[in-house]
């Protein structure tokens, strides 16, 4: 089992890397201690999720499992029975994909987009006390039809959206304000009312807190999303079928396998052995793996790994700890009031959106009694339309607003010197 590269973990970044290297002609050995593809991005059935929880709770004897136990320091699962549990696809990493950006480009360039389906996110809304959900307008059409905004609010919001969609670098409004808190920028430079500014900051720019997010990066995110609208439909975002990026990671693994990568799932990695310190030529410096219940030792010059396979203690994230929740419900969620009684003259197509199948609900700081005043929370709602649930159910996944900028380039590299290979797969995430 001699490889050019060993990749540990089948999360999205690792899988893109494996696919790129295999396509470029390198011999890749791809390993994951879990018995499924996707690593921390996987899509699991209810039973698989129970197993996942169990294995992270008990005492562990590998670096990876210990890292997982520290990362997921408190897990609680309902014990009630979930009907048709096998038809649920629960994502460990709920994700929405902008229609314009490096991930979509990679999916198309690599052909992995053909392996799965995608659904357009239907609606983004903000939770407003005491119990109202307000859709977030992101286009001229939305602003025009919106019944909540005052006329002046509409004008100011449109002015901001036009600004944010254009070339704002070097503009007067932005001068000297690049590192200003985004919410302050919105209120001062565009005179946006508090609720409108909140909706923009938390539901369009995905800011995480009232004071932590800077103007220039927030504007750049908004511009990316505004320019994504219209590519596949009115909404800027796609949600992958069957639980999202778990399927996509698996797709990249499939692409890697098609190009010759070897896959080993479900075996614990007992140790990662550095090259022996011996005299001799550089070419013999190889890492090797000891896998549970496998006599052979896979080896390679290079090992690329998800950090959990290298060290049990993950670097502390700047945002601190976060809490996530997955809730399965059997009542559809509405983002707007049901339409009034129709008379016969009006055709059925005039009804506005009602029940949400695939949507995003943002809870800004201080929007919920006794909730956080310093952090926003997001809730991704997925249902039958994205194949995440059987009919009649939907999933309501709450997590702190967390924008993950996936920067992955799928480029064919012919350079034999691997370290200079033009492949980058990085994932920045802020929790």
């Amino acid at each position: 089992m001699d490889f050019d590269t060993i990749v540990l973990g089948t999360g999205l970044s690792e899988s893109i890397l494996a696919a790129a290297l295999s396509k470029a002609g390198f011999k890749v050995g791809h390993f994951d201690a879990n018995p499924y593809y996707g690593g921390d991005d996987a899509s699991l059935t209810v039973d698989d999720l129970r197993d996942w929880a169990e294995s992270r709770k008990k005492n562990t004897n590998t670096v990876y499992l210990e890292a997982q136990r520290q990362r997921f320091s408190s897990i609680s699962l309902t014990s009630s029975n979930v009907p048709r549990s096998r038809t649920f696809s629960i994502s460990l990493s709920p994700t929405i994909i902008p229609s314009v950006g490096p991930l979509v480009d990679s999916l198309v360039a690599s052909g992995v987009s053909r392996y799965g389906g995608f659904k357009l996110l239907e609606s983004i809304a903000v939770f407003d006390q005491p119990s109202k959900v307000k859709p977030v307008p992101t286009s001229k059409e939305d602003v025009f039809k919106n019944k909540e905004l005052s006329l002046v609010d509409k004008r100011r919001l449109m002015r901001f959206l036009l600004f944010a969609a254009g070339e704002f670098e070097g503009s007067n409004e932005l001068a000297g304000q690049e590192t200003q808190t985004f919410l302050t920028f919105l209120r001062e430079k565009f005179s946006l009312a508090n609720k409108v500014a909140d909706a923009i900051a938390y539901a369009l720019a995905f800011c995480t807190s009232p004071s932590g997010n800077l103007t220039l990066p927030a504007l750049q995110r908004i511009r990316r999303y505004l320019r994504s609208a219209g590519r596949y439909g009115p909404s800027p975002f796609l949600v992958g079928h069957y639980g999202g990026i778990g399927e996509i990671a698996q797709g990249f693994c499939r692409a890697a396998a098609v190009n010759g990568a070897t896959y080993v799932l479900g075996r614990n990695i007992m140790s990662l052995n550095p090259p022996p310190k011996s005299l001799g030529s550089q070419a013999n410096l190889r890492w090797s793996l000891s896998l549970d219940d496998l006599d052979e030792h896979p080896s390679s010059r290079i090992v690329a790994a998800q950090p959990a396979y290298i060290s049990s203690s993950s670097p502390s994230s700047p945002g601190g700890r976060s809490a996530r929740c997955v809730a399965i419900i059997n009542t559809p969620i509405r983002f707007s009031e049901p339409p009034p009684e129709l008379n016969d003259d009006v055709s059925v197509e005039d009804i506005g959106p009602g029940e949400i199948d695939t949507g995003l609900l943002i809870f800004p700081p201080s929007s919920v009694d006794s909730g956080s005043s310093t952090a926003a929370a997001s809730c991704l709602i997925t249902g039958e339309g994205s194949m995440a649930t059987p009919s009649g159910h939907c999933m309501y996944k709450c997590f702190p607003t967390h924008y993950s900028y996936l920067d992955a380039e799928f480029v064919y590299a012919r350079d034999s010197e691997f370290l200079n290979t033009y492949v980058r797969a990085r994932r920045f995430s802020r929790t």
């Binding site: 001229k140 059409e141 025009f144 004008r155 449109m158 003259d345």
Partner: protein
């Protein structure tokens, strides 16, 4: 089509295109000469008919050949044929025009021919059901025009055709449903003069028949147009519709209200040319029609002149027009 960019060709691509076009041109000219010659010699044969089909597919704007085709229908293809055969022939031509319209949505000749086909559908299929063929064809027409409007909501040919169908079809849908259709199109993108125009026609009908209360309806329309105005003050079709709603300006309270509202918008968006122009227009109406009720006429006149001066600055190509309007206001003022 609206919003579709012209393709830019490189030098090499241009050369290749020229060569391809040269061959196509030769074939086209040969065919067109043949067809015109046959037309001159009054050739009404099936062969000639097939040739017109080929020619029209290459160039549907050649209206002479559409005429020739219709002559052939009337003189040689329809006579001696049963109603069901005639219906069949016309259905084929309706399919042909639909296909051509997808590539050429704005060619008068194609829309024309379609109307002609509809008007010549024979009685049938039986003496008890003389309108059977007509009804089933006409019902499909609305669907066809809706598809065209989905593809380009601003195609005035399609809107014209839609009015023609609604006026001519045996069982048209009620005007309120048409109002709802314009609402849908305006909500999707209110930068659509044709949709607003259609709305004005439908509303007028509904007011005349009494189906909608005119006063309440106008209030709702002002609300709708105000939303559009504030969302995008630069959109011309919105201001034109607003002017239609104001009409001859006989209702002073409404004029005052709209002037206040537009002034608020101008305060938000100080560079808006349309706000300024509309304010001048409506203030002039106040001056001309409601002079006796005005408190401070001079203030109104002065504010018009001030707005016109600003308009000269932000819209220099039309400054002589603004000058003329200012003159008119001054002289009208002096005469009183």
């Amino acid at each position: 089509m609206h919003g579709v960019k012209r393709v830019q060709y490189s030098q090499a691509a241009l050369e290749a295109k020229k060569q391809r076009d040269h061959d196509k041109l030769k074939a086209y000219l040969a065919l067109s000469d043949d067809v015109i010659a046959r037309k001159k010699s009054h050739d009404m044969s099936n062969e000639a008919f097939e040739l017109t089909t080929r020619l029209l597919r290459m160039n549907p704007e050649f209206y002479t050949v559409w005429n020739y085709r219709r002559d052939m229908f009337i003189e040689s293809l329809f006579p001696q044929r049963s109603p069901s055969e005639v219906n069949e022939l016309l259905s084929d031509d309706l399919s042909l025009t639909f296909e051509l319209l997808k590539q050429h949505p704005k060619v008068y000749g194609i829309w024309n021919h379609r109307r002609w086909c509809l008007e010549h559908i024979p009685d049938g299929p039986s003496p008890d059901d003389v309108n059977g063929y007509r009804n089933s064809t006409w019902n499909k027409e609305l669907f066809v025009v809706e598809k065209m409007l989905d593809a380009d909501a601003r195609n005035f040919h399609a809107w014209n055709y839609r009015r023609y169908i609604l006026a001519t079809m045996p069982f048209p849908p009620p005007p309120k449903s048409e109002l709802a259709y314009t609402t849908r199109k305006i909500e999707a993108n209110f930068s659509n003069f044709s949709a607003w125009h259609q709305r004005s026609k439908v509303l007028t009908t509904l007011w005349e028949t009494g189906e909608l209360d005119r006063v309440k309806s106008i209030e709702e329309e002002f609300e709708l147009v105000r939303n559009a105005m504030y969302t995008d003050p630069d959109d011309q079709s919105v201001w034109i519709y607003h002017a239609w709603l104001i009409g001859n300006g006989n209702y002073a309270a409404r004029l005052q209200f709209e002037i206040t509202s537009i002034q608020e918008l101008l305060d938000e968006q100080p560079d808006s040319k349309w706000c300024m122009e509309s304010l001048v227009r409506y203030k002039r109406l106040l001056i001309e029609k409601h002079a006796e009720n005005l408190g401070d006429k001079k203030a109104l006149v002065d504010s018009c002149l001030e707005l016109l001066a600003k308009l000269r600055d932000i819209d220099p190509p039309r400054r002589r027009r603004y000058d003329e309007i200012a003159e008119g206001i001054r002289s009208g003022n002096e005469m009183q």
